[in-house]
Symmetry: C2
DNA sequence: GTCTATAACGAGATAGAC
DNA sequence: GTCTATCTCGTTATAGAC
């Protein structure tokens, strides 16, 4: 047969990215190796080097795919046409989905590893946060305009607090293995921009 | 001469802990080696193994010392006798001090590395967060009682949000190299338990 | 208490066969 | 596109001299 049309993880590069993504989200960028990915995939590390020249390139590809997927999810929320408070809930839901899979946000994890990352990865991590904050700030402005949200200071500042707050809630919830803990914190964070 | 009475970092074990602590806070537990500490200290790795049997023991000692120091700082804030809102500001100030030194909170960093840590370290990380939350919850209760703080839900839930929020604000602020960003987020977090 | 020496292993990477 | 084989280096750890 030729090759699957849309089966997502049938090709090797995607399978590598899937495995490496999970490993980074669970163990950190310095906590996994080419060998880990190769053995889980049932190939040798040489095969990995064929698809991704080195760990830096693999890491950069991971962030690019993750950011694209996250961007798609944001666009989908936007297209939903719900009111701003509901959009914020949906946004927090994206984080909850990741945490429910026992993972940390990829870029939150890489933020911890930041000082050890190759340049290309560093810039991509910062861009991820920038994009999230721009999207959130827009939703917050919408809410302020239509009266469904109420907060002091700039929308950007509020957006930065929400991104940091959600990342931190994930970070701390994981050692406790407690998604409830995340949800409670997330609701409190969102409530802080919802009440007059 | 005999040996310094209180010069803090004159003895080798303390010097090892100081260097290792900074390395973990900057690079993560899987981002530094005995070799890094040894070369910075000007000794061999064999000398390190004399003082700390292995990386797991060194890591456990790091958390124990860090938690003790943090506990002392909390007791000092408590002893200050300020009102609850001022105590919360002082608490956030502890995080700012760490971040201003270009470091992540030791236990926040280890929370990211959690899945790769030896058991003894895992338990100590969770205990650190527990102690912080108990202390914060007490301050929040005080504030609620004397009318200087106002929040919905339990004090423990609010405390968990604050700890997670501050850790996340640090986590994200570091890639930006922006302490202002942390401070703005921290003030917003504290404001969410301060206004009626 | 620190050193030299060395063991034992794992990690990232490459060359060249198939 | 994947393999075998190999290289080089870093990391943790130990034995024994000083």
């Amino acid at each position: 047969m030729a090759r699957r049309t849309r089966g997502a993880e049938t090709d090797t590069p995607s399978a590598i990215l899937d495995l490496a993504e999970r490993l980074v989200q669970v163990r950190g960028f310095n906590g996994f190796s080419y060998g880990d990915v190769a053995s889980e995939l049932g190939v040798t590390t040489a095969a990995l080097h064929y698809h991704f020249a080195g760990k830096a390139e693999l890491g950069a590809a991971l962030i690019a795919r993750y950011a694209a997927r996250f961007g798609d999810a944001l666009a989908e929320i936007e297209a939903g046409g719900d009111d701003p408070p509901t959009k914020l809930e949906a946004y927090a839901g994206l984080y909850l989905d990741v945490l429910s899979d026992q993972r940390m946000c990829l870029c939150g994890m890489l933020a911890a590893d930041y000082q050890t990352l190759p340049k290309q990865m560093r810039d991509a991590v910062v861009s991820f946060f920038d994009e999230n904050e721009v999207w959130l700030a827009r939703v917050l402005e919408q809410g302020k305009a239509d009266g469904t949200l109420h907060f002091t200071g700039s929308a950007t500042e509020a957006a930065q607090m929400i991104v940091g707050g959600l990342e931190g809630a994930m970070l701390v919830a994981r050692p406790y293995g407690d998604t409830e803990r995340f949800q409670t914190a997330a609701h409190r964070l969102l409530a802080s921009v919802a009440h007059p």
